[in-house]
C-alpha cells in the first residue's frame, strides 16, 4: 500500500504540497489565515484566535471573557424586537433567553437566522400540574460564544405550534422527535410521522401522565 510512487500524480491532480509533507503541517503554514482559499486539502486553516497562540506552544489560549456576577449581564440581541435578555452563563449554560408568545416562534427563528445563529435543538417540557406544555428552542452561534434559548408555552390539551422547518430545515427531525415524545403537533410540518418511536406509535412517552 505504499504510495510514494503515486505522489507526483496526486500533485498533478491537486495543486498540493511538497511530496514529503509531514503529518502535522508546519506551524508557519498553520498560522497564515490567507491559506483559506487554497484548495489543496493540505493546509488546515485555523481560527484567528488559535493562530495567534499557536506560534507560542507554551502560551495558554486567552480565555473568553466571562462576565463577573457584579457587572450587568450583556445582551447581544437587545436590538431585536423580541424580549431577549441576558443570562448568567456560568450559572445556566446559555447567554440569552426569551420567552415569547406561541405565534412568535417563527419570527424568533427568522430573527436569529438573520443574526447568523444555527439551530441547536428543539424539545418540550411537560408542565402537567399547570396544564401547559413548554416548547424550548436552542440556538448556538457558529462563530462566537452565544447560546440562545427561546421558550414558549402552549396549552397541554391543545398542543399545537407552527413549524420553523421553513427557516431551519434542520428543525424537521427535531420537531418530529418532539412530536414523538410529547405529542406536540407542529402545524405545517411536511412529515410529522414517528421518528424514533415505532411507526405505529400512538403514545408520547415524555408526557408526565404516560404509563406503560
Amino acid at each position: 500500500m505504499s504510495t510514494n510512487g503515486l505522489q507526483p500524480k496526486i500533485d498533478s491532480a491537486q495543486p498540493a504540497s511538497p511530496p514529503a509533507a509531514p503529518a502535522v503541517p508546519p506551524k508557519a503554514a498553520l498560522t497564515t489565515g490567507q491559506q483559506s482559499t487554497v484548495t489543496s486539502h493540505q493546509t488546515p486553516v485555523t481560527s484567528d484566535q488559535s493562530s495567534v497562540t499557536s506560534q507560542q506552544p507554551t502560551a495558554p489560549n486567552p480565555p473568553s471573557p466571562v462576565p463577573s456576577p457584579q457587572s450587568p449581564i450583556p445582551n447581544p440581541l437587545a436590538h431585536l424586537s423580541l424580549p431577549f435578555h441576558g443570562v448568567d452563563y456560568a450559572a445556566k449554560g446559555y447567554h440569552v433567553e426569551a420567552t415569547v408568545a406561541p405565534d412568535q416562534v417563527v419570527l424568533a427563528a427568522e430573527l436569529l437566522d438573520k443574526e447568523g445563529l444555527s439551530l441547536d435543538t428543539i424539545t418540550g417540557v411537560d408542565w402537567m400540574a399547570e396544564g401547559q406544555m413548554e416548547v424550548v428552542y436552542d440556538y448556538f452561534h457558529p462563530a462566537k460564544a452565544l447560546r440562545v434559548v427561546v421558550r414558549t408555552r402552549i396549552p397541554r390539551d391543545k398542543a399545537e405550534i407552527a413549524t420553523i422547518q421553513k427557516v431551519f430545515p434542520g428543525a424537521n427531525w427535531h420537531e418530529r422527535e418532539t412530536h414523538d415524545f410529547f405529542g406536540i403537533r407542529f402545524l405545517g410540518h411536511p412529515n410529522l410521522t414517528p421518528f424514533l418511536l415505532p411507526e405505529d406509535a400512538d403514545y408520547h412517552p415524555l408526557r408526565k401522565d404516560f404509563a406503560q
Binding site: 500500500m1 505504499s2 503529518a23 489560549n61 460564544a145 431551519f168 430545515p169 434542520g170 412517552p205
Partner: protein, 380 residues
C-alpha cells in the same frame, strides 16, 4: 442486503420513460455502522432522494433520566455514543455541577481532559478504520485497532472498563490516576505521533482514497448552519466551530491547540479534520500531563442525596462527533424533571438527504461514512 423494493415508471417531459426505484440500505448493512435504515430512491446509479429512517435502537434514555437520581443516570451517559463515553459523561456531570455550584478540584479537571482526549483519539481511530473499510480498504482497520487497543488498556487500568467508562463523578472522578497510567500515556503519545505520520503516507496520500473523497459530498457552510451540524462536519466546511474554543469549559483554556479547519467541505476535508484533530489531542494530552497538579480528585461535601435548585441548566462539550449538550430541568427533587440530550450525530445526519441528492450511490455512502455516524447517538 440491498433489496429492490418497488419500481415506479414515470414519463419525463420529453416523453422518454424515466424509471426510479427504491432500495433499502439497512437496517442491517455494514455501511450504516449500526441499525440505521436509509430508504434510497434511485434513478439508475444516481440518488434521487435518500431518506434516513431512524429509531431502530431507540432506548428512551431521556425517559430513563426522569425516573432515577442524577447519580443513577450517570452510567447511561456512557451508552449514548459508546465510542465517546468520556465526553458524554463530562457533559452530564458538568450540568449537575453547574446547577449544584460544585467546585471540581483542578486535578480532576486535568484528568478529565486527558481521558476525554484519549477517548477522542480512540473514537477517531474507530471511525478511520471503519470508514476506510467502507471504501474498500481493509488493512487500516487493523492498524487503527492496534493503536486503539493501547488507549483502551490505559483507560481500563484506571476505570475498569474498556468502552462504557462512567469514570467521572458528580464533583470529580471515581478514582485518581496512578503512575502506570501517566507513564503509559506519555509512552502512547510518543508512539502515536510517528503512527499518524505513517498513516499519512499509507492512506491519506493514497491516490485511490483521494479520488474517492476529493470533491465528493460537498457540504456548504450555510447547510451546516441551517441543519445545526457540528464537529468535524462543520470544521470540514471551513467554520472553526469547536465548543472547546467557542464556549470553553473545564480547563481547556489552559492549553495551546489549534482547531483544524478545511475550506472545501468535501469528504476529504472531514477526513483531514479528524486526522489533524488526533495530533492536536496528543498535544493537549502532553500539556495536561506536564501541568497535572497534585491534590484531591473529588470535591468536598458532595451531598449523597443531590437536589438541584429549580430551574434549567445546560452544559455543552465537544464530543468526538460534535457538540453534545445536556439540558437538565429540575423541580428541586432528587430525580430530574427532564433530561434533554442534544446529540451531534442526529443533526449531522439530518443534512444527508439534501447533501446526497444527485450523487452516485457509492459516493453517497462515502459521504455518509465521512459524517462519522454512531446510531445509538442518534436514536438515544
Amino acid at each position: 442486503m440491498i433489496v429492490k423494493e418497488q419500481v415506479r415508471t414515470e414519463m419525463s417531459a420529453d416523453g422518454a420513460p424515466r424509471e426510479t426505484f427504491v432500495i433499502n440500505i439497512g437496517p442491517q448493512h455494514p455501511a450504516t455502522h449500526g441499525v440505521l435504515r436509509v430508504k434510497m430512491t434511485m434513478d439508475g446509479e444516481y440518488v434521487v432522494r435518500a431518506e434516513p429512517v431512524c429509531g431502530y435502537i431507540h432506548r428512551m434514555q431521556e425517559k430513563m433520566g426522569e425516573n432515577r437520581t442524577y447519580a443513577q443516570f450517570l452510567p447511561n451517559t456512557s451508552r449514548i455514543d459508546y465510542l465517546s463515553a468520556m465526553t458524554y459523561t463530562h457533559a452530564f456531570v458538568g450540568a449537575v455541577e453547574r446547577a449544584a455550584k460544585l467546585q471540581v478540584p483542578p486535578r480532576a479537571e486535568y484528568i478529565r481532559v486527558i481521558t476525554s482526549e484519549l477517548n477522542r483519539i480512540s473514537s477517531h481511530l474507530v471511525w478511520w478504520g471503519a470508514f476506510l473499510l467502507d471504501l474498500g480498504g481493509f488493512t487500516p482497520l487493523l492498524y487503527a485497532f492496534d493503536d486503539r487497543e493501547k488507549i483502551l488498556d490505559l483507560l481500563e487500568g484506571i476505570t475498569g472498563s474498556r468502552l462504557t467508562y462512567s469514570y467521572y463523578r458528580i464533583g470529580g472522578l471515581c478514582n485518581d490516576v496512578d503512575d502506570t497510567f501517566i507513564k503509559g500515556t506519555r509512552a502512547f503519545v510518543a508512539q502515536m505521533r510517528p503512527r499518524l505520520k505513517m498513516y499519512r503516507g499509507l492512506v491519506t496520500d493514497n491516490i485511490i482514497l483521494r479520488k474517492r473523497l476529493i470533491d465528493i459530498g460537498p457540504i456548504s457552510k450555510e447547510m451546516c448552519r441551517k441543519y445545526g451540524a457540528t464537529g468535524p462536519v462543520i470544521r470540514g466546511s471551513g467554520i472553526p466551530y469547536d465548543v472547546r474554543r467557542v464556549e470553553p469549559y473545564s480547563v481547556y483554556p489552559e492549553f495551546d491547540f489549534i482547531i483544524p479547519t478545511f475550506q472545501e467541505g468535501d469528504s476529504m476535508s472531514r477526513y483531514l479534520v479528524r486526522m489533524e484533530e488526533m495530533a492536536q489531542s496528543l498535544r493537549i494530552i502532553e500539556q495536561a500531563l506536564d501541568k497535572l497538579p497534585a491534590g484531591p480528585v473529588m470535591a468536598e461535601k458532595v451531598p449523597r442525596v443531590l437536589k438541584l435548585p429549580a430551574g434549567d441548566y445546560c452544559y455543552a462539550v465537544e464530543a468526538a462527533r460534535g457538540r453534545f449538550a445536556v439540558r437538565i430541568v429540575s423541580d428541586n427533587k432528587e430525580i430530574p424533571y427532564r433530561v434533554k440530550l442534544r446529540t451531534p450525530s442526529l443533526s449531522n445526519l439530518s443534512l444527508f438527504e439534501e447533501a446526497s441528492a444527485g450523487m452516485l450511490l457509492p459516493d453517497a455512502l462515502a459521504l455518509m461514512g465521512s459524517l462519522d455516524l454512531v446510531i445509538p447517538d442518534i436514536d438515544r
